[in-house]
Amino acid sequence: MKTYTYTEKKDTRSGFGAGLAELGRTNPNVVALCADLTPSLKMGEFIKENPERFFQIGIAEANMMGIAAGMTIGGKIPFTGTFANFATGRVYDQIRQSIAYSDKNVKICASHAGLTLGEDGATHQILEDIGLMKMLPGMVVINPCDFNQTKAATIAIAEYEGPVYLRFGRPSVPIFTPADQKFEIGKAIQLTEGNDVTIVATGHLVWEALEASKALHEQGISAEVINIHTIKPLDDKAILESVAKTGCVVTAEEHNVLGGLGESVARVLATNNPTPQEFVGTNDTFGESGTPAQLMDKYELNSAAIVKKALAVIKRK
């Protein structure tokens, strides 16, 4: 079994900041906008190096989305930065009409997604953003798993023409993907090979899925872990090929099971190859204050939860 190790942990938002800084040096059309959260979004390096290409909008996210849409007219590639909650739910209609329906090349970059925002609590812990964004026609939805992948994704989406939602987070998580791994939008990455169960995970849950696969291995169960960094367009082929072999699947995400990655996987399976599936995600609930680890434990979003669901779904084969 292929195993993964790490020497360093970092927050995925820093991967965004590093990717944005690199874009600042390589792509003169990239501009950045922020609604009064530049330290949280790690935008400092870009701002320092390209002050003329940074736009401080103030605490006015609706205006920010409209300005970003307008900036595409003339050929700029705007990257907007704020918390995931304010980047989606707060401005859904602005994104829908001025960006998605208007086919504007805006990159909506969202930090502090999910429960791992921690102590700030449910007002800021959005668990519905993947669902909101994947429902918009034409919107690409990406949720990378570590620093390296977030940096690579940030750079990759500048090359893609069209609206993108890029979701990342606050906590430090293991860096286990190669720094030189090319990011291909819509292309799943198989992390481990296995025959008994497929684990399809996104974002912070990918490392947890790898930990779960280790624990399952000790019980004699071989799990195939697939890193889905792009929730839309979904890599149907990779998922179908894996479940054809394993016959069951667990999906894992830091998001409501209603509207998340799991439901997208379920649609693919239901229409192509109905397969037993279990969901790791929050269950139609808001979050609360606590440390990220406490929250992931309480809401069953960790490796232990994935192991439990894997054992359950294998029994349903």
Binding site: A62, N63, G66, I67, A69, I73, K76, D93, S102
Partner: protein, 281 residues
């Protein structure tokens, strides 16, 4: 440059287009469309420095953004008659498979449209983004936008109004169609907004008032003043006092025709009041 008579003839034809389009599909918004006919005809044919043809980026030319997208009939007519697409296509307004959707969109690739609008309050932000890019490019061009007065009840406008002044976006001339009417009645009855002039000035804008917003000479004079006051560190707001339904007597001075189509008889009266000038589509 066309003379006033030519602009008036074009406006009369645009009015015919508006009521014929809305009548044919028994839906759409004639009142606000008629009220802004003189303004948009003058803007596109006299004020704006436009290039031939259409490309989305609009480098090196003035751009216009319609925020109150429900007045799409006047926008489509003015665009078609400015050469952006064939006037015959006005026949397809609001029909299935048409590029002329109920509210303007880029999604169907209609030349002349740079942003979807209809859900109110979003156009000024978009215009600001486009204006800031013009500045980045070092262009000496102007961004024009049009907004309904009732539309200013949407909060996003005030985010944009605050931002425009703070960031000195002085290549934006935003016009407010001050017809005093909205769906549920007069703006004063629905949600009185007090002095818009005072509000814009308090937010740091230069305000130009056009008292006769349905008079082409007054529009030319007022917009020239607005242009002269742009580029001086402040965004410019034009308060354009119009009469909703202007040019069709039974549609004037009321909100009744905000979103209602004329019947056959009413269409005939409206057309009689606006004889054909440049030829119907």
């Amino acid at each position: 440059m066309p003379n006033t008579k030519q602009l008036e003839d074009l406006t009369t034809q645009v009015r015919r287009d508006i009521i014929r389009m809305v009548h044919k599909v028994n839906s759409g918004h004639p009142g606000g469309s008629l009220g802004c006919a003189e303004f948009l005809v003058t803007l596109y044919n006299e004020i704006m420095d436009r290039k031939d043809g259409f490309d989305m980026d609009g480098i090196g030319e003035d751009l216009f953004f319609l925020s109150n997208g429900h007045i799409s009939p006047v926008f489509y007519s003015v665009l078609a008659r400015a050469g952006y697409f064939p006037v015959e296509e006005l026949n397809t307004f609001r029909l299935i498979d048409s590029r002329l959707q109920g509210h303007p969109t880029t999604h169907e690739g209609l030349p002349g449209i740079r942003i979807a609008s209809g859900s109110l309050g979003q156009g000024m932000s978009v215009a600001l983004g486009a204006a800031q890019v013009k500045k980045m490019h070092g262009e000496n061009t102007t961004i024009y936008s049009l907004h309904g007065d009732g539309e200013l009840q949407e909060g996003q406008n005030w985010e944009a109004i605050m931002y425009a002044a703070a960031k000195k976006v002085d290549n934006l001339i935003a016009t407010i169609d001050l017809n005093g009417q909205q769906i549920d009645g007069s703006t004063d009855d629905v949600l009185a907004m007090g002095s818009l002039k005072g509000k814009f000035e308090a937010f740091g804008w230069t305000v130009v008032e056009i008292e006769k917003g349905n008079d082409i000479d007054a529009i030319i004079k007022g917009m020239a003043e607005a242009k002269a006051k742009s580029g001086q560190g402040k965004p410019v707001c034009v308060l354009l006092k119009t009469i909703m339904g202007n040019g069709v007597d039974f549609m004037m001075h009321t909100h009744e025709w905000h979103g209602k189509a004329p019947n056959d008889e009413q269409l005939a009266i409206g057309l009689e009041q606006n004889p054909e000038t440049l030829g119907d589509y």
